[in-house]
């Protein structure tokens, strides 16, 4: 049994966030599929890994973690010497990377994940998209991306000159939104668009998409 195990489904944005980090770090891991339809994530033994009953669950030896961004940060710290370095400078740069990681968590994600749900997931489940929610959140996302456009005019990636978790954390929602009408919000901003092209072209992200296909 591999020391690192990820529990979930690769289609989940939160699970994909962890998977892409593991692939960037070139780490071996076991993927444990959770039967979402059967509610496996709301029962034991999964609840012992995540008492909130949400995927992903993560194990590294006897350490059990949850919350995708805690897991990615743990991976980055514990396996700092492996794979992609996720840094480019001193502690001051690390602080700036920290700022943009929080921007993803508190400004981008609440808005983007509502749009991902309405525009990408609901149609797959045969549910009706709420156009009022879409309109409200597209407007909010536009304002966030205006800030990103200015930032990315000064910096190749959000945190600094190289890719870090601040950028990677965006990938799962951006991937889904590029397949919807919200794509225009990214395409119409040249620096954002170039950044999206760069992060979606990462080989590690392609591996996540391959795992999604494989898991059916």
């Amino acid at each position: 049994m591999a020391a690192i195990r990820v529990h979930g489904t690769p289609y989940s944005t939160a699970v994909a966030r962890v998977l892409t980090t593991l692939y960037e770090k070139e780490l071996e891991f076991e993927f444990v599929a959770i039967d979402m339809k059967a509610g496996e994530h709301k029962k034991e033994p999964f609840l012992s890994i995540n008492p909130f009953g949400q995927i992903p669950g993560f194990e590294d030896g006897d350490l059990k973690l949850f919350e995708s961004r805690a897991i990615t940060k743990y991976i980055a710290q514990e396996y700092a010497d492996k794979g992609t370095q996720f840094k480019c400078g001193d502690s001051k740069t690390a602080a700036i990377i920290g700022v943009w990681t929080e921007v993803e968590a508190h400004q981008f994600d609440p808005v983007a994940s509502k749009l991902t749900w309405e525009l990408a997931f609901k149609p797959r489940y045969g549910l009706a998209t709420d156009t009022a929610i879409v309109e409200e959140n597209e407007a909010k996302l536009a304002k966030v991306l205006d800030v990103y456009e200015s930032r990315l005019a000064q910096s190749k990636y959000l945190g600094c000159g190289c890719i870090t978790l601040a950028d990677l954390h965006h990938l799962p929602n951006i991937h889904y939104l590029l397949g919807t009408q919200a794509k225009k919000l990214f395409d119409s901003r040249p620096h954002v668009s170039a950044w999206v092209d760069a992060i979606t072209a990462r080989p590690a992200w392609s591996k996540v998409l391959a795992l999604q296909k494989q898991q059916g």
Partner: protein
């Protein structure tokens, strides 16, 4: 040149940072920002934080925003002094602190901030509190507190038997929440209540609590 914190003493995000600075015993200057006068929308402030929000920390030529990025920076920079907030000497403890920091960010904060807005801020803006929004948030918050109640039966604090940044991040909003009609959400859960009484009596929190009063717009 010391640390400058741009913000307001009654702002939850500002007090989150101030409590962290006090736990570390680090001096700083609080520079008030005139939110009511729109100072946060002026170019000079937007140059510091393009999102136009408080707080902002200046440490020499380094400018940071997002309160939880600021506390992480302070906790890391001053890791050798004051309270050990990140448990960096023990990788497993440090990982668990990261987990419960995210729980505060993604479960607790989204559930409690609409209640803060509707109960404290809406009246100042001349709006009627949206009770449906409050009720929906209370339901979510109840579920979060149920998980905390269970966790705190196993450990004294959220990440383990040690106070950490994860507990600290909860103080500001919970302080105000205890002044709402729904303080029973804490008081009726014995482990959560004991945890709250413990953290709110810490000297660092007593210091910031003095400034945590919502003031009528003049």
């Amino acid at each position: 040149m010391g640390l400058k914190l741009y913000g307001l003493p009654m702002s939850t995000n500002t007090t989150r940072v101030m409590a962290c600075l006090h736990e570390k015993g680090v001096d700083f200057e609080l520079v008030p920002v005139d939110l009511f006068g729109g100072e946060n929308r002026q170019p000079s402030f937007l140059a510091k934080n393009p999102l136009g929000r408080i707080p902002v920390l200046e440490d020499g030529d380094l400018t940071l925003f997002e309160s939880r990025a600021i506390t992480a920076y302070v906790a890391e920079k001053f890791k050798e002094t004051g309270t050990d907030l990140l448990r960096l000497q023990n990788p497993k403890e440090a990982a668990l602190v990261k987990v419960w920091l995210e729980v505060e960010s993604h479960h607790f904060d989204p559930a409690i901030t609409p209640i803060m807005f509707e109960h404290f801020v809406a009246p100042i803006l001349g709006k009627t509190p949206d009770q449906a929004a409050i009720d929906a948030s209370l339901e979510k918050l109840g579920k979060v507190f149920d998980v905390y109640e269970s966790k705190l039966s196993c450990t004294k604090y959220l990440a383990g038997d040690f106070f950490s940044l994860a507990d600290l991040h909860h103080h500001a909003c919970t302080h105000y929440f205890m002044k709402t009609p729904w303080a029973s959400f804490v008081n009726d859960r014995p482990n959560v209540k004991a945890w709250w009484e413990g953290i709110s009596s810490r000297p660092a929190f007593m210091k910031v609590a003095e400034g945590m009063t919502f003031v009528e717009k003049k």
